[in-house]
């Protein structure tokens, strides 16, 4: 698709061709994105990258992520920025649905991605057989619904990426397929993904900067909007302050909207300990607590010293108590209290200080934690 849309330039394609030749291989299109020498020699994506496609009135970036288990850190890093998930499943003999296929779906859902396109790939290797496509889709469909995807937001498209079937236009080899080609399906999903405009005011503050008219608190509006003259609550500190001036991109404005980075003048100085605080609508405040129940995807061992990174601050975890296990390949829970790497758990986490928290589905930025244990990346947690 990168080649067909012109997103991969001629020079990139030529370079990938030459490299394939040097390795005595047929042209390997994956080399367009897999640019590290190690990725090419080992025939696998190691780290995430992006490639931009323009189609109709939209520009969207494909975030390529690695599939291998040991590279889950890189997969999550890429996928966390996604708005729509595109999952590739091979129907080639001995490939098919694997544990990691389901694990990636589980992670995508946990990251809050609601729209999903499953591209059932390598249809050319099974003679474009409808039955195999139906079986593969059917098996995934059950799992997808089980882990919380809305079936109406999920599409299945049979393709052959290598031969170009059903990528940019309908393939004559799969007349039995009633849907649209992949690019159209992706376009429609991306088009429908509009940023949340409603919700109560939430500003995550990054800190304080000096200005000609005194200090300004800078931060990003992640929900709602803010107007000059309004009162806002500062959490977890708990005081209420009045906004007397708003700057967006260096210009004075009357109001700031969701998605914007603002610099606020307040009716009093708050000092320099503002990093990670939340400014919220005083009528609809998030809960301030040091006890959170998290759904955790586990990427490393939980050792002696666990840190939760939360909106630019690091908070020590006093305890992490696993309540139950979730099997990421079936969606089933069990009573086991052991946190297995590459698995998921639900756990009660006691933090060393209070923070403003909301359910991940309500305000993502206030419902997510990155966990490090003994200095290593140990998992991601969302407030459920």
């Amino acid at each position: 698709m990168l080649m067909l849309t012109g997103a991969a330039t001629k020079v990139r394609i030529k370079e990938a061709e030459e490299y394939s030749k040097r390795l005595h291989k047929d042209f390997e299109p994956a080399f367009i994105l897999d640019s590290f020498a190690e990725e090419r020699l080992q025939e696998m994506t190691i780290d995430t990258t992006r490639a931009e496609i323009k189609y109709k009135d939209l520009a969207f970036a494909f975030i390529d992520v690695p599939g291998h288990e040991e590279l889950i850190k890189n997969m999550i890093s890429g996928a966390s920025y996604g708005e729509v998930a595109l999952l590739l499943v091979s129907v080639k003999k001995d490939e098919g649905i694997k544990d990691q296929t389901k694990r990636h779906l589980f992670i995508s859902r946990m990251l809050g991605i609601g729209k999903l396109v499953v591209a059932v790939n390598k249809m050319d290797t099974i003679d474009y057989d409808k039955k195999t496509f139906d079986e593969t889709s059917g098996e995934l469909e059950k799992f997808i619904t089980k882990i919380g995807f809305d079936r109406s937001e999920v599409s299945f498209v049979p393709i052959s990426a290598y031969k170009g079937d059903n990528l940019m236009k309908k393939s004559p080899k799969m007349k039995w397929y009633g849907g649209k080609p992949l690019i159209e399906v992706l376009y429609e999903k991306a088009k429908g993904e509009e940023k949340k405009q409603t919700g109560s005011l939430r500003i995550i503050t990054q800190g304080v900067i000096p200005g000609n008219a005194g200090e300004h608190v800078v931060g990003r509006i992640v929900s709602g909007n803010v107007k000059t003259g309004e009162k806002v609550s500062v959490l977890p500190q708990g005081m209420t302050v009045k906004v007397i001036g708003i700057m967006v991109k260096g210009k004075r404005v009357k109001s700031g909207k969701v998605g914007e980075n603002v610099a606020l003048q307040l009716d009093r100085n708050l000092g320099y300990a503002m990093r990670g605080s939340v400014m919220a609508d005083p009528e609809h405040k998030p809960k301030v607590t040091d006890q959170v129940r998290l759904r955790i995807f586990v990427t490393g061992r939980f050792g002696k010293r666990t840190l939760a990174k939360f909106n630019g601050t690091e908070i020590a975890c006093k305890s992490v108590n696993v309540i139950r296990n979730i099997d990421v390949t079936t969606g089933e829970s069990s009573a086991s209290k052991k946190a297995k790497i590459l698995g998921a758990v639900e756990a009660d986490v006691k933090l060393a200080k209070k923070v403003p928290v909301e359910n991940y589905d309500v305000t993502r930025e206030l419902g997510r934690f990155v966990l490090y244990s003994d200095g290593k990346f140990a998992g991601i947690g969302t407030v459920s």
């Binding site: 330039t9 001629k10 020079v11 990139r12 370079e15 490299y19 367009i32 994105l33 640019s35 590290f36 020498a37 190690e38 780290d47 995430t48 990258t49 992006r50 931009e52 939209l58 520009a59 969207f60 970036a61 494909f62 975030i63 890189n74 999550i76 890093s77 966390s80 920025y81 996604g82 708005e83 729509v84 998930a85 595109l86 999903k189 991306a190 993904e193 990054q206 800190g207 900067i209 300004h216 800078v218 990003r220 700057m247 991109k249 260096g250 998605g259 914007e260 980075n261 990093r275 990427t299 990174k309 909106n311 630019g312 993502r364 930025e365 997510r368 990155v370 200095g375 990346f377 991601i380």
Partner: protein
């Protein structure tokens, strides 16, 4: 998959630049007087109420174009920021990676040490080069400037790495998501002052700027920002096709970046 437009790109860059300034003790930015790092400075002014609150480093090998030096003086005065000039020596006959790849990092190392910078803003973009496309927004470098690309830190949501295991520094990449056309559209929208070498003279213009030894002008009649945008909307030519170093093989670039090349 993620949709991207100019407003989204701009907001993310402002967020990253503020994050760099507020997270680290002592930061600086690299400025080549090219379009990308000049756009980064314009974004910095938006982030910091019209100011550029950190010094800007120019690694000068004394063979940049006269227009480039003039532009440096002009903009530093107009926008009122501090420029640290680091002089790097070049060998008369060397070109490409043998030249840039060795001399510039050495000079930068000296400056970083002398001033004690713990983070450096660098205006690379993913679409410039296959190896650059693998970068993170915040990318740690060790004491010797090495990039451990085999084991990059997790970078998810808006949590950027700031952990330094060694006495290294963190490279901050606020323009990673932008492409060449985005830059020019933004230059137009914000009326950002630009080095005149980008505009056509006698039928040629520079599309990517390096020093006088390694940069070749490309055929073009684009005399205004609008012309450049029109040209880029239809061109099939690579942005850095006038840069000799990029003609070397991919893995040369990878080796260079791993070793601390900019």
């Amino acid at each position: 998959m993620i949709a991207q437009d100019l407003k989204t790109l701009e907001e993310r860059s402002i967020y990253i630049i503020r994050e760099a300034k507020l997270k680290f003790k002592n930061i600086a930015a690299l400025w080549s007087m090219g379009k990308d790092s000049t756009t980064m400075l314009a974004l910095t002014r938006k982030a910091f109420l019209g100011k550029i609150p950190f010094p800007v480093i120019h690694i000068d090998n004394s063979i940049d174009f006269p227009e480039t030096y003039a532009f440096r003086e002009y903009l530093a005065k107009k926008w009122n920021f501090k420029v640290i000039v680091g002089h790097s020596d070049i060998k008369p006959d060397s070109v490409g990676s043998a030249c840039c790849g060795q001399n510039k990092p050495e000079t930068l190392k000296k400056i970083m040490k002398e001033y004690g910078f713990d983070a450096l803003i660098v205006s690379i973009r993913r679409d410039e080069h296959a190896i650059r496309s693998k970068e993170r927004y915040f990318s740690p470098r060790d004491k010797k400037f090495r990039w451990n690309y085999r084991n990059q830190p997790a970078e998810l949501w808006d949590d950027y790495s700031s952990k330094l295991d060694t006495k290294g520094h963190v490279r901050v990449h606020p323009l990673l998501d932008w492409n060449e056309l985005d830059i020019w559209r933004y230059v137009k929208q914000e009326r950002i002052p630009i080095n005149p070498l980008y505009f056509s003279r006698n039928g040629f213009r520079y599309r990517s700027l390096g020093c006088t030894h390694c940069t070749v002008a490309l055929k073009s009649n684009a005399q205004k920002v609008d012309d450049i945008i029109k040209e880029l909307e239809i061109t099939k030519q690579e942005e850095r096709s006038g840069r000799s170093m990029d003609k070397e093989r991919e893995y040369v670039m990878q080796r260079l970046r791993a070793l601390g090349y900019l």
